[in-house]
Structures are given as C-alpha cells and as structure tokens.
Amino acid sequence: MIYIVTALPCEASPIVRKYGLKRDSCRHFPLYRGDGMCLIVSGVGKMSAAIATAYLLAYDTGLGQTGGEKGLAIINIGVCGAFHQRYPIGTPLLVNKVIDHETGNQYFPDILIEHPFEEGSLETYNHVVRQEDVLSGRVEPQADLADMEASGFFQAASRFLSPHQIYIIKVIGDYLDVVDFDRQRVAHCISGIMGLLDGFIKGVEGLCRVEGDVLTPDERQQLEKVKKSLRLTVTQSHQLMDAARRYKLRTGRQLPDLTEFTQTQIKVKAEGKKAFERIRRLLLYE
C-alpha cells in the first residue's frame, strides 16, 4: 500500500488522475483512494502535514491500534523552491536529508533502492522563503531546497514507520522568485514526473513487501484454535507461535497435526498448562 501526502489540491490532481483515485467520504481531509494507493491533501505548512500524515497512518492503516500492516510506504510529493540553479525547473529530487529550520533538527530517510532521481537536502520553513531573504542574509540556506511541509511530514511518519518506508520527492518549481502563485504551473511540474514516480513506487512496493511467514494460513488458524481451547496466556501464546516456527525451520516439515488440542475443553488452568507443555515438547524435540 502506498500513501501519498501532498500539500495542495493542484499537486494531488495529476496523481489522482494517473492512478484513477476516487474521492473518499472522509470529513477531515480531501482523501482519495484507489488500487493499493491512498492520497491525502494536507494543506500548507509543517503542522498541517504532520496532522494529515498522523491521521492517515494512525487511522487508515490500523497502525495506531494493532501495529497493523507492514507492507506500506508513505511519500510526500510536492513542489519546492531551490536555493541554487544547479537543476532546471521541473527537476524532481529525492530528499536524503530534511532540516527543520525552526528547531534545527535533522531527519534522514533510508534510501535503500535504486531510483531515477537526483538527490538533495531540503530545509522546511514556517514561512515562505524569497530570494531577497537570502540575498539580504535574513535566511542562511543550509540545504539545496526549501519547502514548508517535509519536516512535519517526516516527524509524524517516523512515529509509525521505518525510515526506509518514508520518502520525500520535491519538484523544483522556482528559484524562490515567484510573484504570482500559478496552480497550473504546479500541476504541470508534478505531471512531468509521473513516469519516473510510477517506476519509483514499484521499487518501493518491492522493498517494503512483507516477507512471508513460515507458517501457512491453515497452520496459523489451527494454532489460534489451540490457543483458544487451551485458554493460553499471552506469554504462552507467544511461546507456542515461536515453537511452531522453530519446528518448521528446523525440520523443514509441516506442523504435526494438533487437532487433538483444538478439541480439548479446559476447565482449570493447570490442565491447559499441561497440554501446552506437551505441545511444546512435541514441537521442540520431535
């Protein structure tokens, strides 16, 4: 599952179109869904980005309660300003360092896959940065790019996810010299990277895919039944799963038939403990 956070509707629209995402009924944010993808429009500013990101990851994925699904990644996509003219307008950069201008804190996504982008650093400000701020020395750039969301996005996302599941792609929209904000130009910048973005998303999905459990769904189901009928404690349940996995890794065989234990009705705890010990021995020593 790929989650996308953009600040503005005009940054979202080329992505919504490309992936055929449909508007969700969410009351709190503009939210769009499609096959294996969910996009939220956060609004401008790092606080807004943090709130939308946390909302998405806590409520939509179930990570908030259960630890949830792991095979996911989140990407902040948007336009930004560049402090230098090394790259032309429209160039997408994958951010390898985010600096929060106000706190000075630094954040680092883990870039573990090949990708088609240039890489660069990004400083997130609470306010719009203009060329004259830099020229006058009011702003001393610490990075290649400037935006207003990434540090909030990253901080919120890293509460829930590993750094290899969090990405920031910024397209250079200007050299901090914009006078009139032009939605179409912004949308054009994002449209221009859709081909590269698509390939990147596939790579990220591959990296974040959850490895299969050694236990088959049937085996897991049977073990769940055993846990229930023997009324195992949380610790015993963990031990049972652990012993079952070890058994399979060690012997390379399917789990032995545990039906007998799924039919036992336990009246006192001691009986459950005894039966549990039998299974454990069976799994560890056979």
Partner: protein, 326 residues
C-alpha cells in the same frame, strides 16, 4: 542499491585524514553531511535486515570513553586488565547469529575517524599498568582493511607499546592486506572458525573455512601468534560428526604445535538480544534448537555442557589442555 551508496559524514569528521581517505576511495558515493552520527545511526524503527542489503557508511568522531571493560561472557585468556574498544561499529559480514543485530539499532557501518584519540586513551591506560585489549569485537577490522586500514594501524601502534597485549579477532581471509607487516609480539591474530557447512549456512558473506585456514597457515608461516576461536559452536543435525571432522580438517592444514592458544564457546547470548534477534530472523533455523536461559540472563543450548565437553575432548587431541580456554 549498492553497498556504501551513501556516506554520512559528521561535519567535524570531514577533515580527518581517515575521512579523506574513505571519501577518496568511494568517490562515487552520495555524501550527506550530518551533525552527529546518532542522528542517522540511532533513528527509531530502522530495519536491520533491509539495511544489510544496502549498507551505508557513517564517518564520525568518537567522544570519550574509548575503552570499555571486557564483558564477562568474553574469554580473557588469563589476562589482567581486559578491555575492548570499538573503532568501528558493525561488520560487512552477515552471520545469522550475529549479536550486533540485537545490539545496534542500525546495520550501517560507523567508522570513527579519530583513531589517534583511541591510541591516546590506550597510552593513558598503560600508564597505570598492563592492558589486554580487543579492538575487533563489534566489527571485523581485518575484513574492513580495504575500506579503512585500521587492522594495520592497530598492529603498528601495538608494536611500539610495552605492556600492551592485543587480540585482533576476524573471520576474514584477508591476511594478504597485513602480510607486509612484521609480526608483532604484542598482537595475537585470532580467527573464528566454524565447520565448512556451518559457515556456508550461517556465516553469510564470510570467507569459507578453507580460505580462513589458508590465511591462518600463511600467518603462522610468517611468524604471527595465532589464536583459534571455536565459537560459537552451533547446534546442527549430526553436530558430533560434523564438529569432529571439522577439527581433523583444521589440523590437517594448521600445524597444531604452532598455534598460540584456542578457545571454545558454545552459542550463548544475552536474553534480551536473543529475543530481539530471533524475532528479526524468522528466515533462519540457527535458533531452532531448544535453548534455556541460564542465571544472569544468558541464553544457550540445553545441552551446552555436553557440547563443550565433546568438543574439548576432541580439541585436546591436538592441543595441550593449558592452551585451551573456555
């Protein structure tokens, strides 16, 4: 993505000669300037396994302390004042059972570039008496010699210090990288060995047993003191047969009479680390045999003592008992 695609460099580390050497060696890597290595190394929720497939380098300046008292689970070989030091964190090999997976939050390799400060700390310690030092515990210095020549730096340093005894532990076959150095009385080259099939199965990326034995033979011929570390002894099907044959193989190549000493260590690990690692490594059966948690929170095999006895008996056919530790 390739190994060392990125090098993270603490700002203050940039001008150290070691940093310059590494940056020159990996001139194509992306460079990211950082304030403190922990900003990268200690990030929450890092995925050790996935990072192993695309390890990054971090160049940093280590603040005090530089020396740590030797841990109790490690053999001191009868030496007083046993300390270890970590000029590098993490390793280029990927042993299934490696305790570093449970110890560090990241698989990235940290190189502390202020090696002179480490040497200074050793000198200060030596003012108070002798020192037995292990600088290759939380890494494999010889394996990393091609990236940063710390094995040779430590050897050269030790060669000029009285009262210092140093063990350089390795699984590397990279003896050629230090073969130009004169053997140093203060230094013991210590090779960790496992049966060929065990190494192949559980010591990913580490050299084969044969390659390690050739390196040992060459080192002995050049006059180095060589220690053989038979640890961790791992439980595998038919372990008696496998470990028995293994010793025959080792001593068919390595002249036993020239071996300085040896130690035996059945697999054991701190309980917390064991828990973390076995959760992380559902892809291996290395922890699949029954274990127990002994007093002091150390996890080992239920029949640890039997394994040790068996191996000790076989090893003492080749080495006198006073040269066997553990």
């Amino acid at each position: 993505m390739s190994k060392f695609s990125h090098i993270y460099i603490e700002e203050r580390a940039t001008n150290y000669p070691v940093a310059q050497q590494v940056l020159k060696r990996f001139s194509d890597s992306k460079r990211v300037i950082i304030r403190h290595y922990k900003d990268v190394f200690n990030r929450p929720h890092q995925d050790f396994r996935r990072q192993k497939a695309s390890t990054k380098l971090i160049l940093a300046v280590k603040p005090e302390p530089f020396l740590y008292p030797g841990p109790e689970v490690c053999e001191s070989f009868g030496n007083q004042n046993f300390y270890y030091t970590s000029p590098i964190l993490n390793c280029i090999y990927d042993c299934h059972y490696c305790y570093l997976q449970g110890l560090y939050p990241s698989a990235n390799i940290v190189i502390f570039v202020n090696i002179e400060d480490f040497f200074g700390a050793v000198d200060r310690q030596l003012e108070g008496g002798t020192l037995y030092l292990c600088p290759s515990y939380d890494t494999d210095l010889l394996a990393l010699e091609g990236i940063v020549p710390y094995a040779s730096r430590w050897i050269e340093f030790a060669g000029t210090r009285q009262g210092l005894r140093m063990e350089l532990r390795t699984k590397s076959a990279n003896y050629g990288a230090i073969a130009h150095l004169k053997p140093v009385e203060q230094v013991i080259l210590a090779w960790s060995l496992s049966p060929g099939e065990v190494a192949q199965r559980y010591e990913r990326l580490a050299p084969t047993l044969k390659a390690r034995l050739s390196a040992i033979k060459a080192a002995l011929q050049d006059g180095w003191q060589v220690r053989l570390c038979f640890e961790p002894l791992l439980k595998v099907d038919n372990w008696q047969q496998i470990y028995g044959k293994f010793l025959d193989e080792v001593f068919s190549i390595v002249p036993a009479e020239r071996v300085f000493d040896a130690n035996i260590g059945v697999f054991r690990m701190n309980k917390e680390q064991f828990k973390r690692i076995s959760r992380l490594r559902s892809d291996t059966d290395v922890f699949a045999f029954p274990t127990v948690c002994r007093e002091g929170g150390v996890v080992t095999y239920e029949d640890e003592e039997e394994m040790r006895e068996f191996f000790y008996r076989h090893l003492s056919r080749y080495l006198p008992q006073e040269r066997i530790y553990g």
